[in-house]
Symmetry: C3
Subunit: 355 residues, 3 copies
């Protein structure tokens, strides 16, 4: 996973995937994790491999806040310290479960797969209106048999909307035009203004026939794969552009996270919602249409990944288009972050190397 930084937060699970009894087996960036929740409500993330004989700790049994390996019964506390070895009095210092920093923030479970000493809770992205009382939000998940960066590519070039999503999001030719794009610290902000367009297919039934609207779309995507989308719509020509108050009267909002699982597979976590003032039926329509569209993306991207794996000696692109700018820059940002980490690690005195 050398093309992804490790010293940052990744979404590893939805909070409600981690219950009070089971241990969740989840891999991110090639790190296989055993995730469970303790009595404080906090999440514990162990490396999913017992230090004794390499049995997955997710095969183990919860005992209060501790986890007992399901094979020979070593008992570990939430810090990974071994508390008991059945049949043996002495607990050797090597009898430790490896742990990862993990934080449950407003429904998203974030894990820091890199050096725990560098962990910084303030770096968790703020994408959390899951708990915002003015919003009705829903969460979804898709597993991808594809390199996470192919999903980034998709999310950074909306010229695919009119072809991949013609029956769902149904973007017209406008979506192929260059958006207002600006760099952020580790990503991009895109702003799109589409005056006087028909409503997207998934919303069409909510509008009068031949309705026209103005649409404002604000899209932010940051490494290592976190994004938000804000979309506001109003009847065409009713007000000047500035009058679409994207924060107050949000049409819809989505926050999403793409997390590499292995080099060729990924997790895609997405939330989407509408203001509470909107009827439940509109939300259902939005959710159904969004899931259908996201599956359209997955079909294309998994076909692309399969071809890349079958013909590995070919470059991914034989021709470069203008719309690839953000794609290429994002790959550069990730590579640069990963390289900086490796340099910092090799410059560190060896005594301080985390194990």
């Amino acid at each position: 996973m050398g093309d992804f930084p490790e010293n940052c937060w990744y979404v590893a699970a939805w909070s409600n995937e981690i219950d009070d009894i089971s241990v969740l087996d989840r891999t991110i960036l090639g790190h296989r994790l055993a995730l469970f929740r303790i009595s404080t409500g906090e999440i514990v993330a162990f490396r999913n491999r017992c230090p004794h004989r390499s049995v997955p700790l997710s095969c183990g049994i919860r005992e209060n806040d501790n986890l007992r390996c399901g094979y020979h019964g070593m008992l570990f506390d939430p810090q990974g310290q071994c508390l008991e070895i059945p049949g043996q009095d002495l607990i050797p210092p090597t009898a430790r479960a490896t742990t990862y920093p993990a934080i449950d923030r407003a429904g998203w479970v974030w894990v820091w797969p890199g050096d725990p000493k560098l962990m910084d809770e303030t770096l968790i992205p703020d994408i959390n209106p899951l708990g915002d009382p003015s919003f009705q939000m829903r969460t979804g998940y898709l597993h991808y048999a594809a390199d996470a960066r192919l999903i980034h590519d998709n999310l950074l070039d909306f010229s695919h909307l009119q072809f991949v999503h013609r029956n769902t999001f149904g973007g017209g030719a406008d979506w192929s035009c260059k958006p207002d794009m600006s760099r952020r610290d580790k990503g991009f902000r895109f702003e799109r203004w589409f005056p006087d367009i028909p409503p997207p297919p998934i919303f069409r039934s909510a509008f009068p026939e031949n309705a026209r609207m103005d649409l404002l779309n604000i899209y932010e995507f940051d490494a290592p794969g976190i994004l938000t989308v804000r979309t506001a719509m109003q009847p065409a020509g009713e007000a000047p552009r500035k009058a679409i108050a994207i924060d107050d009267a949000l049409g819809n909002f989505s926050a999403q996270a793409v997390t590499p699982e292995t080099a060729n597979t990924a997790h895609y976590f997405f939330s989407i919602g509408l203001p509470r003032s909107e009827p439940e039926a509109s939300l259902e329509q939005l959710l159904g249409g969004t899931l259908a569209a996201f599956k359209e993306d997955r079909t294309i991207i998994e076909a692309q990944q399969e071809l890349l794996l079958k013909e590995p000696d070919e470059p991914i692109a034989r021709t470069a288009l203008e719309a690839d700018a953000a794609i290429n820059q994002m790959r550069g940002i990730l590579r640069q972050m990963a390289r900086s980490e490796r340099n910092a690690q090799s410059n560190r005195p060896s005594g301080a190397t985390p194990n």
Copy 2:
């Protein structure tokens, strides 16, 4: 696929696999193709990989005679030239789909996977009585999880008939005898004359009990894997050998093509038919028996392939039999053709190298 020549014609599909709406995804000799038919009836064979982001073009959408990539919408004409890039005015010269020569000839779709500059339509083998009005022909297909050369081996040594096909073709011990074999330009002609034998099991019901017949079999097999079989039968002893007029009163006829898909998988296209004068019921019996027999071959050959892959360090043969002569020569012919191509290519001035 270094053991197969590329500068020759291979059967890639049956004509009726390629319709007016879809794009067929088909791999031959490791080349993944996107096949479609344009308004003239001609077949277009693209490399099934968009030059932009490596998405299979078979995921695309037909627009008249052009093909639009299903991801970002690049539009290619039948010559592979890009006509349109959504959101971008300039079309760079690298924005081309790679094309292969492809020709639909009497129901067989032939593709030339090698250098298009060397393509020669006159080299298409003439195996086409599919359209012969005096014949009722049918077509069939089997996919093989096996190296195409193992299928060649099977087709070049009929001593297997009495063991593999004892309940279908049911060849007796005669089929293990050496046939009259003569070399052709890129293959072999075998002639077999079996006087006074019982009819094959699949035909037995059409004959009186204890019937005996004389059978003449002419079999031609040419690199890279094209063959025809002509079989004529008449009541035993009714006429001298020469009187079986194999071209006029053909008992049955089969044309077949074995095309490598990958190094360890293959396509097996076969046609088979009888003179129109024969009743439909005889044709049904022939087809059913032939398919059953071809599946008997496949069972053995796939078991052989599986073993060869599991024990790759062993030679395929620890003992050589006389019946292997044609098998070994055909492998030599293919190797020689492939080697000549590589030599010709490396002697060519680099400016003329096809891309």
Copy 3:
């Protein structure tokens, strides 16, 4: 399979798997075998690969005591000598099927995968009360997607009983204590004495509520993976330890064999039984509980193997426990046996090398 000796006997099948008509396809230590039974009742083990074109001989056809290859019909006698080549008079000396020594002993089919010249029938382990008239024995089998040594590990450290088998064998904490362990020629003998314990869950219904018993367990495990278990129980405190006559009034008996199939898969053959004096219902209870427990082992061990394969650069153990002593010694015994074989082979004059 460099970590296992080849010049010794392995269980390849249960006798009743090899019938009078079929040919059994079975792999042990990476050797693919074709096993069949001849009219004397003896077992023949061929290498499952025809010397002609590498078709599995298990696709062949039995002809009395001989085996005919299913492809081109070469006929081999039980010694592997070719008797007939259809269509050819001369039988070349290379036309031989490779054979392995194989012996059916009281229901267990033993095969010697190494040098046939070194085969010694007296080395077959005596684990055979399958035929003992005083016992009612049953046989079982599990296929493992795991290295055989991981199964050995499990069988050599009973501290897992109280965790893996808490609802079946249900070993209490006592099973984690160090047993009386003594070395044998190629393995170990363990003796365990548990006075005043509740009966195991799978037997509990046969005893009065709150019953207590004394249990004696004698366990012998020898390379390359053969073991017997004798267990005797009597009401607690009824007699001193010596009075449990383990050979006369055996509570239950099990003989088992672990045979590597490939480097990462294995066969697990097990027999288990009770004295004939015990009611049939007790045997059924024992069999059901044993199979359930063995599947509990397999679940853990296959999860362990999967993890080891996914993370191959990690050592299996980051911490060593006292209970690992027998595990590590057994791996050493196997390695030493394999190394001795290789040394003996390389010191042998080349003319004497077996082929």
